[in-house]
């Protein structure tokens, strides 16, 4: 387990994500209420609860991490009503495409995170600094790459990514939103942490926690 992460980790990560998102449901709702439409916490909680129900109902255990991530992707797309559905759906789908292997080493974890970021950017067309999920994902990927280049373990790569995502989410507070629903608020979006960046930080924290 120490040297690589397999399907058990992918399942544990997914279940832990559902738990963490559920625990932070009210916080996400409140963040989204301030600068969005208030549905992010509810939508994600519902989406990940549906993912867990799907996992519980599987006739056979998933074969590899990619299979788990694909299940997350398709379920989120079908059950999350806001922009988060297509955005996380695409992120997980792209990540699933590069994780169809039994075990992920540090570079495999980096590839997973890079594919996720690419999916979000491809779908949402946001750039860093626009007060979106991208502001958590981008530093997470950068930190993961740096850690892997220094020979870190997969768990350490995820820990670095999670920490960078958390800092990135916090750094969205002073930003002016120019993408997504918050952009309708213009200057009033300043001073609030972006809910999408916050949920990204939670998801990556769950990934790190379950890999440790």
């Amino acid at each position: 387990m120490a040297g690589s992460l397999g399907v058990d980790w992918a399942v544990a990560w997914t279940r832990r994500t559902a738990q963490v998102i559920g625990e932070h449901r009210d916080e996400l709702i409140e963040l989204d209420r301030q600068i969005g439409d208030g549905d992010h916490g509810e939508n994600l909680t519902r989406g990940f609860a549906a993912v867990v129900a799907k996992l519980d109902g599987l006739a056979e255990p998933p074969a590899d991490p990619g299979e788990v991530l694909k299940l997350v992707a398709t379920t989120l797309m079908s059950t999350v009503g806001g922009a988060a559905g297509p955005l996380y759906g695409t992120a997980y789908l792209r990540a699933a495409k590069v994780t169809g292997v039994p075990e992920l080493d540090a570079h495999g974890v980096v590839a997973l995170l890079e594919a996720g970021l690419e999916g979000i950017v491809a779908r949402g067309k946001a750039s860093p600094g626009e007060k979106t999920m991208v502001d958590a994902w981008t530093p997470a990927v950068e930190a993961a790459v740096a850690a892997a280049d220094q020979g870190a373990s997969p768990a350490a790569v995820l820990a670095a990514a999670a920490e960078a995502a958390r800092a990135g989410a916090e750094a969205t507070v002073p930003l002016l939103a120019t993408k997504g629903r918050a952009s309708y608020l213009g200057e009033r979006s300043i001073g609030h942490q972006d809910p999408g960046a916050t949920s990204t930080a939670l998801i990556l924290a769950a990934a790190a926690e379950t890999a440790a």
Partner: protein, 256 residues
């Protein structure tokens, strides 16, 4: 008979999508219009599954499909669906960058008139420009003299994209006048009837300075009962188009 182009209306609100289906459908009989509003739990939001089903229904029988959306995540959801759809179906679907309500009305009328997918999409996307602030020089008292001229008012969007307005110099211009007779004036249904009718002629018809083949521009005239409309038409069927327009207005659209 069903039109070759169907519409899918993606809104965060099921009520908006369904209401708009009714509104646009009233003006475009025979056009398949499928609403896809609301999130998977029946609340406000958008649903990949719902949009997928709607597009597949709209695309049945080989129809082409124009999708119109409201706010951001409706666009994301639709793009996601198009990526996941069977390629044979996705190839017949386009996403319009158009205002939802005006775009759907214009697209429905255009589709009812037999327009192909590109024509319907272009018409919908131009609805944004036509929806600009109403012309203040069109008064309830009838047209000011310059409005009957061929060079339409400047507020009506990208003039270079419109049917040629400068046709054969003077010689080919047919002018006429008609008084609005029906009590409700040129509301949505008559405007749709007229614009469809005008689209069928090889002619460019201006009424009070706006394009008579544009349902939105006709509606925005806000012409009420008793108002005089000044008409000028050019093109090979200018006479027939002008006569048809005057005849239809004169008959009061079955409301008198």
């Amino acid at each position: 008979m069903t039109a070759a182009v169907a519409l899918v209306l993606v809104s965060h609100s099921a009520l908006i999508a369904e209401g708009l289906r009714d509104l646009a459908g009233q003006m475009a009989p025979g056009v398949e219009i499928v609403p896809a509003g609301g999130d998977p739990a029946g609340g406000l939001g958008t649903s990949v599954d719902r949009v997928t089903v709607a597009i597949e229904q709209a695309a049945a029988d080989g129809r082409q499909v124009l999708v119109l959306t409201d706010l951001g995540s409706a666009v994301l959801t639709t793009e996601m669906v198009l990526e996941l759809l069977d390629e044979g179906v996705a190839a017949r679907v386009r996403l319009a960058d158009a205002p939802l309500v005006e775009g759907a009305v214009v697209a429905a009328v255009e589709a009812a008139g037999g327009g192909d997918l590109d024509t319907v999409r272009t018409a919908a996307e131009r609805a944004g420009a036509a929806a600009a602030p109403a012309p203040d020089e069109v008064t309830q008292d009838g047209p000011a003299p310059h409005e009957a001229a061929q060079d339409g008012p400047a507020q009506d969007g990208p003039a270079q994209d419109r049917p040629a307005q400068d046709g054969p110099a003077d010689s080919g211009t047919i002018s006429g006048q008609v008084t609005v007779k029906n009590p409700l004036g040129l509301h949505a249904r008559p405007a749709a009837v007229l614009s469809r009718m005008m689209a069928g002629f090889d002619a460019s018809v201006q009424v009070n300075g706006v394009n008579a083949a544009s349902v939105l521009e006709l509606m925005q005239l806000g012409a009420t009962q008793g108002q005089v409309l000044a008409l000028s038409a050019t093109g090979s069927q200018a006479r027939a188009a002008a006569d048809a327009f005057i005849g239809a207005v004169d008959e009061g659209f079955g409301e008198i």
